[in-house]
C-alpha cells in the first residue's frame, strides 16, 4: 500500500504542485489545493481551466506528470487506479449524467452500494433487509421513490442528475466530487439540488464544479476559481467575484 508513515496534513484532500500536460498543452499547471474534512467547496472557472482534468487526477483516470495528491493525509492517489480509489471512498458524478440506462432506478442504486464488489460476492449475492433499507433511504433523499421501478433511461434529465447523486450517496464515500450537477436544470430543480447538496454536506466532504453562479451563491461555501490549470482566486463568493482577474478571465465586466 502507498501509505506514508506519518500524516503530513490534516486535509482530506491535498494537491500540491500538480502538473499535467497533454501533447504539450498544460492542462494543469502547478495546481495546489486543500480540502478539509467536512468542507464543501465550489470550483468555478472558464472552459478549459482544468476543472474536469483535476477530477480525473483525483479519481485516478489521469496520472499527473508531477506533484503530490494525498487523500486523508496518507494515501498517494497518483499510484492507484480508479477502482482502488473508489474503494478508498471517493465518489464521482460526471458532467454528463451517467447512469445505467437499461437498468431500473433501484438497480442503479443497488450497484452503487458500497458492499462486496468482488466477482464471487456479486455472483452469490442475496439481497438483505439492510441493503433494501439503505436504497429506500437514498430514494427518499433524492425524491425518486415513485419511479424506483422505472428504467433509468426513461427518466428526465433532472431526475438522472439526482439519480447519479443518489448513486453517490449509496456509495457513501468520504469525498464526493460533483461535476456540473445543475447543467440543464430548471430554476426550481437547481434550487432543490442546492438544498440536496447542503443536506449531503452534513456528513460528507463535497467538491462541486459548477458554472451557474446563482447556484454557487446559493451553496454559500468557499469558492476556488481555476484558470489555465492553476488557482486564480480563493475565498467567499463575494471576494472571488470581485477579484479583478476573475472578472477579466471568467465573469466578464
Amino acid at each position: 500500500m502507498n501509505v506514508m508513515d506519518t500524516r503530513s496534513t490534516s486535509a482530506l484532500l491535498y494537491l500540491d504542485g500538480v502538473h499535467v500536460s497533454f501533447d504539450g498543452f498544460h492542462a494543469i499547471n502547478n495546481l495546489s489545493l486543500t480540502l478539509e474534512p467536512g468542507e464543501m467547496r465550489a470550483i468555478i472557472g472558464p472552459n478549459g481551466a482544468g476543472k474536469t482534468t483535476m477530477m480525473d487526477i483525483i479519481t485516478g483516470k489521469t496520472k499527473p506528470d508531477e506533484g503530490t495528491v494525498l487523500f486523508d493525509g496518507v494515501t498517494d492517489l497518483t499510484r492507484l487506479d480508479e477502482t482502488r480509489i473508489a474503494e478508498l471512498g471517493i465518489g464521482r458524478k460526471f458532467q454528463k449524467p451517467t447512469v445505467f440506462e437499461s437498468q431500473s432506478v433501484e438497480d442503479n442504486l443497488l450497484l452503487a452500494l458500497n458492499v462486496d464488489h468482488s466477482v464471487k460476492g456479486t455472483l452469490f449475492w442475496r439481497g438483505s433487509r439492510s441493503e433494501a433499507a439503505r436504497i429506500d433511504k437514498v430514494l427518499e433523499t433524492v425524491r425518486l421513490k415513485d419511479v424506483c421501478r422505472k428504467l433509468a433511461g426513461s427518466l428526465s434529465h433532472g431526475q438522472k442528475q439526482w439519480l447519479e447523486i443518489g448513486m453517490l450517496l449509496a456509495q457513501d464515500p468520504k469525498l464526493l466530487l460533483v461535476d456540473e450537477p445543475v447543467a440543464g436544470m430548471t430554476d426550481v430543480e437547481t434550487h432543490q439540488t442546492a438544498e440536496l447538496l447542503k443536506q449531503i454536506n452534513k456528513d460528507h466532504t463535497v467538491m462541486v464544479v459548477e458554472h451557474d453562479m446563482t447556484f454557487v451563491r446559493e451553496l454559500g461555501v468557499k469558492v476556488t476559481c481555476l484558470h489555465e490549470g492553476t488557482v486564480l482566486a480563493e475565498g467567499t463568493i463575494d471576494q472571488v467575484s470581485s477579484n479583478d482577474r476573475v472578472i477579466e478571465v471568467y465573469l466578464g465586466r
Partner: protein
C-alpha cells in the same frame, strides 16, 4: 444455491428448457423405436444434423453471454469451439488403436504417415476419457484466461478487441494447418471408431449424443441464466453500458470481464467436443475467422442479450443454411447470409426474440404490476404482523 436457481427461472426460461428437454427425449426415441419409413420416425441423418445445430446453439449462448450482456464482441469464439473439438478428437483418435490403416497400436495414422517414431508428449493422457473431458474445458478456458488477462488488463475494448480475437483464431488456423504441429495438419482428425466403447456411427450412439447435446444446452442455459440474473449480471450490463462509470463505483471491471470470458470459452469448448463425434471430423477450417463471424450473426438474428434468442438464432440460421446450400441457390448462400445480417441490423436491431419481447412487454408489464402490487400488499401485511 437454490436462490440462484429460482431467481433465474422465469416463464420464458422454463418454456425454453421444457422444449429442449422434450426434443432431447422425443427425437432419439422416435429415431430408435419407430420403424424406419414411418411418418413420425426421425431418420438418423436428421438426428446427426440437428445434433450439430444444438452444438451451435451452445456456442451461440456462450457468445451471447459475453456480447449481449457484457459488450465483449469476440470474433474469434470459433477458436474455443474448435479447441474443445480437437481435445475430443484426440480422444477419439486414441480410441482407434490398431484399427487404423497402418495398424499402429499407439500412433494415429497421420503420425505413421509422417514417419514419427513416438507419440508427442501433448498426446499423452488423451486415451483416457476423463482426462480428455477435462481438457475440453481446460484448454479453451486457459487460452481465454491468458488472452483475456492481457487484453482486459490493458483495457483493450470495442473494435480493437474484436480484431485481436480474429487474429487469435487466424493464428491458430495457420498453426493447426502445419503437419509438424502434431494435430493432423490439413486433414485434421477423422476416421473415428468408438466413443466410450460405443461405435460412433451406430444409431444408438448418435441418438445418445443428440440427447447429451440437448442436456448440455440446458445446463449451459441454466448457468448463463444464473449468471445474468445474479447481481453479477447487473454488473455485467453496467460494464456494457457505461464501463468507466462502473469502475468509478469501485468494481474491478477487468476481473468481471475475465470471469465471464473464460466461462464463455469453456462453454464453447464443450459445444465443440459434442460436435466432433456427431460430424465425425475436426480440421483446421473450424478455426476460420468466417465461422466465428457467422456465429455472431446467429446471435444478432436471434436477439442478443436474450439467451433464448441466441439459441434460436443458431438453429434458424443453420436450418436456412442447410436448406439453401442443398438446392440450386447454393452458390448464393454467403450473399444471403450477408444480406440477412444487414437486414437484421437495419430492420430488427433487437433480433427475433428482442423484437418479440419489445412487442410483448406492455402486456407483461401490466401483469407484472398487478403481481408486484399484490406482493407489496402481502409484504405490508407481513411487516405489519411483525410490528405487532
Amino acid at each position: 444455491m437454490p436462490h440462484m436457481l429460482t431467481r433465474s427461472l422465469d416463464r420464458a426460461a422454463t418454456t425454453f428448457i421444457l422444449i429442449v428437454a422434450a426434443c432431447g427425449v422425443l427425437i432419439p426415441l422416435s429415431n430408435l423405436l419407430l420403424p424406419a419409413g414411418s411418418a413420425l420416425q426421425v431418420p438418423t441423418y436428421l438426428v446427426a444434423l440437428w445434433g450439430k445445430y444444438v452444438c451451435y446453439a451452445i456456442l451461440a449462448l456462450s457468445i451471447d453471454l459475453i456480447w449481449g450482456y457484457c459488450g465483449i464482441l469476440s470474433l474469434g469464439h470459433g477458436a474455443f469451439f474448435a479447441l474443445g473439438g480437437y481435445a475430443m478428437g484426440m480422444y477419439l483418435m486414441r480410441q482407434i488403436g490398431s484399427r487404423g490403416v497402418y495398424g499402429n497400436p499407439l500412433l494415429p495414422d497421420f503420425m505413421v504417415f509422417l514417419n514419427w517414431s513416438k507419440l508427442p508428449w501433448y498426446w499423452y493422457g488423451f486415451d483416457m476419457f476423463p482426462f480428455a473431458a477435462l481438457m475440453v474445458l481446460l484448454v479453451p478456458g486457459l487460452l481465454a484466461f491468458c488472452f483475456g488477462w492481457l487484453a482486459f488488463r490493458s483495457r483493450v475494448t470495442g473494435v480493437y478487441l474484436s480484431i485481436i480475437t480474429q487474429a487469435m483464431t487466424y493464428a491458430l488456423l495457420l498453426a493447426f494447418f502445419r503437419n509438424d504441429f502434431g494435430f493432423g495438419g490439413n486433414n485434421g482428425l477423422t476416421d473415428f471408431k468408438d466413443i466410450l466403447g460405443f461405435n460412433v456411427q451406430a444409431e444408438g450412439t448418435r441418438a445418445a449424443l443428440f440427447a447429451l447435446s440437448c442436456l448440455a444446452l440446458i445446463v449451459a442455459f441454466l448457468i448463463c441464466r444464473a449468471v445474468v440474473s445474479s447481481k453479477l449480471g447487473k454488473v455485467l450490463i453496467a460494464i456494457r453500458d457505461a464501463e468507466s462509470r462502473t469502475r468509478f463505483l469501485g468494481y474491478r471491471v477487468e476481473s468481471y470481464k475475465l470471469f465471464v470470458f473464460t466461462l464463455s470459452a469453456c462453454m464453447a469448448g464443450v459445444a465443440g467436443a459434442l460436435y466432433v463425434p456427431q460430424v465425425g471430423i475436426i480440421n483446421p477450417s473450424e478455426f476460420a475467422p468466417g465461422n466465428s463471424i457467422e456465429a455472431v450473426i446467429w446471435v444478432a438474428v436471434g436477439g442478443r442479450g436474450t439467451l433464448v434468442g441466441a439459441a434460436l438464432g443458431a438453429i434458424v440460421v443453420n436450418y436456412a443454411k442447410t436448406f439453401f446450400t442443398s438446392g440450386a441457390l447454393a452458390p448464393y448462400w454467403l450473399f444471403m447470409l450477408g444480406a440477412l445480417f444487414v437486414l437484421v441490423t437495419l430492420l430488427l436491431p433487437k433480433g427475433i426474440v428482442g423484437t418479440f419481447n419489445a412487442w410483448w412487454e406492455p402486456f407483461k408489464a401490466k401483469q407484472g404490476d398487478a403481481n408486484a402490487e399484490s406482493a407489496a400488499r402481502e409484504d405490508g401485511i407481513s411487516e405489519a404482523k411483525m410490528a405487532e
